[in-house]
């Protein structure tokens, strides 16, 4: 198993003032760029440390939010492409249905792949529903735009004999000719995030790495099983390295210390629903029956526990998140046992996307969290 360290580079100093709205409509006067600069450097230092610890790096992007100040995923990736030497770099990912210039995505990814000497892993994501507003991206056509962008970006990265023409429904260029070409042949590995069996089926058909984020004991097996069936039917081998799972990881010298760290990082999960309800249900991004239901009775975001019961996402305890399979926390032995149990439950995973930084956890705790993980858990996971 490979491990990847993920952080959203949160601007947590603004959370209290912003209250129950951390996305979409929040005024940037709440953001202090001097504090923000310190945070960016801190988070980049923590990622740079991963190069020494043998933990790969994962970045993502969100927009107009205090929960994640990575508004352009390729910017930290570009910095880390130069600052790191060994570990691999995963963008998970690029919201290609919301990026109106798909060729620019191919250029950014290719450039990072070359600078990093072929260490880029290339995520294409549909992005969270509340991302359509910052991009003003039509949610009713998002799915088709995603796949058109995917087709165009891959063709742009793999065409090496001069310009080609592209006049599709969503992207039009007459001279697509990307320089530089990517370092890896034919292109960096492709990853996609999924949250439903329907999208797992499509990703399985392509044989890409499938990443399931915080889907826990309840939802992950069906997603992975759907992928396996679909990949096999399309002639791909669904080996463990095709499966990635994202969870919060808090590790300490004692159970208490590990759980405290996880509890702090879990503010990442608890802040996710802190946004106006309507931004979670863009028409067409969700099916009409779901939208209709939400128009009548707005739902509360829940987390499903192992016994099928549910808890409110915004207030869930560390114990509940551990039970759900969304957090792994405690001493190195406990964390390894929790990961192994989840691994067996879902039929094997090749990549643990580890949120080892998030919420209010301090720099010192983060460094200790990552270092302990690297020394005590990583070697055991490498054998899985």
């Amino acid at each position: 198993m490979q491990v990847w360290q993920f952080s959203e580079m949160a601007y947590h100093p603004g959370w209290e003032e912003l209250g129950n709205s951390l996305r979409n409509v929040i005024p940037s006067r709440v953001y202090d760029p001097k504090i923000g600069a310190d945070l960016y450097h801190r988070y980049l230092d923590e990622w740079a440390l991963c190069d020494e610890l043998g933990i790969n790096i994962m970045v993502n992007e969100h927009h107009t939010t205090a929960t994640c100040t990575t508004s352009v995923c390729t910017i930290p990736m570009a910095i880390l492409a130069r600052e790191t030497k060994k570990i691999r770099l995963l963008c998970l990912g690029m919201p290609i249905a919301n990026r109106m210039d798909a060729v620019r995505v191919a250029e950014e990814y290719s450039m990072i792949d070359v600078i990093s000497r072929g260490r880029l892993e290339m995520g294409f994501v549909k992005a969270s529903p509340f991302e359509v507003t910052p991009a003003n991206s039509n949610p009713a056509t998002l799915q088709e735009r995603f796949w058109e962008a995917h087709d165009l970006i891959l063709k742009a990265m793999t065409t090496h004999d001069g310009p080609f023409n592209w006049e599709g429904d969503h992207f039009q260029y007459r001279q697509v000719n990307v320089w530089p070409r990517p370092y890896q042949e034919p292109h960096p590995p492709v990853w996609m995030t999924v949250s439903s069996p329907g999208s797992a089926k499509l990703v399985g058909e392509k044989g890409y790495v499938i990443a399931s984020l915080n889907t826990g004991y309840a939802a992950t097996p069906t997603i992975f099983d759907t992928y396996r069936k679909s990949a096999k039917a399309a002639g791909h081998e669904p080996s463990p390295d095709r499966f990635a799972y994202l969870a919060i990881v808090g590790i300490g010298k004692t159970e208490e210390e590990g759980r405290r760290r996880a509890d702090q990082i879990l503010d990442y999960s608890r802040t996710t629903p802190r946004a106006a309800h309507h931004f979670f249900f863009p028409p067409g991004y969700v099916p009409p029956e779901v939208l209709g239901r939400e128009m009548r009775n707005p739902s509360t975001r829940m987390v499903t526990l192992r016994d099928g019961s549910q808890t409110v996402m915004q207030t869930g305890s560390v114990d509940e998140y551990i039970d759900a399979g969304i957090a792994f926390a405690g001493t190195p032995d406990t964390v390894y046992a929790q990961i192994k149990e989840f691994y067996d439950h879902v039929g094997g995973i090749g990549h643990l996307l580890m949120m080892g930084q998030g919420g209010h956890i301090s720099h010192e705790d983060t460094v200790d969290n990552l270092t302990l993980f690297s020394k005590e858990v990583l070697p055991r996971l490498a054998e899985l």
Binding site: N24, V25, T133, N136, N138, P139, A140, T141, D169, A276, H277, H278, F279, P282, P283, G284, P287, P288, E289, V290, L291, G292, R293, M295, R296, P298
Partner: protein
């Protein structure tokens, strides 16, 4: 409800009443609440009321995604039904389609009725002509869309709520960006050559009567009537009065 196939698209068309022909292009939402209005219209005209592709539960073809596709579809429908000297009436999103039709070809039309249409960009780039109903909670949307008779969703069936969700989906499909307008439409509104009647709810908080006034100035000879105690859908909140205004205004011209 009749199924009529036009230009490769199957349309459900509700045909009722007797009298001169009237093609009614419906608003984006609240289909079930329009029944009294359609009955009222059918007492004066033979009413042809199609459901827009996508809104009807059928997925439109890949090459059918723009407002002009709807305009040409309904121009073809007028031809397929062999309707001449027809009244064209549209409400809100349907009003936008009606204007797109009328600037292109008016030879089959005798008059145009517009109930609080969207579609023309009249403000500057930092003014939103139409409130962003995709960026507000539904209860706030209902407050700006209705003068005081907002529907209660708890009385809607699951199917009706799905239809409401689908209405939003296809409003987005055709009109997400630019938001509910065609940047070229305002430039060509002078091409509307038939008698035109514009109706507006006095309490329309989605697109106010002042927009209606500016729109009326751009359409030669257009008559604007403001309906009191009505929001964006006077045809729902003041169905009888709206029918009466239409029956006694420019659309009555033969």
């Amino acid at each position: 409800m009749e199924e009529i196939k036009v230009a490769g698209i199957t349309l459900d068309v509700d045909i009722t009443g007797d009298g001169p022909p009237l093609l009614y292009l419906p608003a984006e939402s609240f289909g079930p609440l329009h029944t009294p209005f359609l009955i009222g219209l059918s007492e004066h005209w033979k009413v042809y009321a199609p459901r827009h592709p996508g809104f009807d539960g059928r997925t439109p073809p890949d090459d059918f995604r723009r407002i002009e596709d709807l305009a040409y579809l309904y121009l073809d429908l007028l031809g397929a039904l062999n309707l001449d000297r027809s009244i064209l009436l549209g409400a809100s999103f349907g009003g936008w389609i009606a204007m797109e039709m009328a600037v292109r070809a008016a030879d089959r039309l005798s008059a145009l009725g517009l109930i609080a249409p969207v579609g023309a960009k009249l403000g500057n780039r930092e003014e939103r002509d139409f409130e962003d109903i995709f960026a507000a909670p539904e209860h706030e949307n209902l407050e700006i869309l209705f003068a005081g008779n907002a529907p209660d969703y708890s009385e809607f069936s699951d199917d009706e709520m799905t239809e409401a969700g689908r209405g939003k989906q296809y409003l987005a499909y055709y009109g997400w960006k630019p938001y509910l307008h065609n940047p070229s439409l305002a430039r060509w509104l002078h091409r509307i050559k038939v008698p035109t009647h514009i109706l507006w709810g006095e309490a329309d908080g989605f697109v106010g009567p002042d927009y209606g006034e500016r729109l009326a100035e751009r359409i030669p000879g257009a008559k604007l009537d403001v309906v009191s105690d009505a929001g964006h859908y006077p045809q729902i909140e003041k169905a009888a009065e709206t029918v009466s205004l239409l029956a006694n205004g420019p659309c009555a011209v033969q």
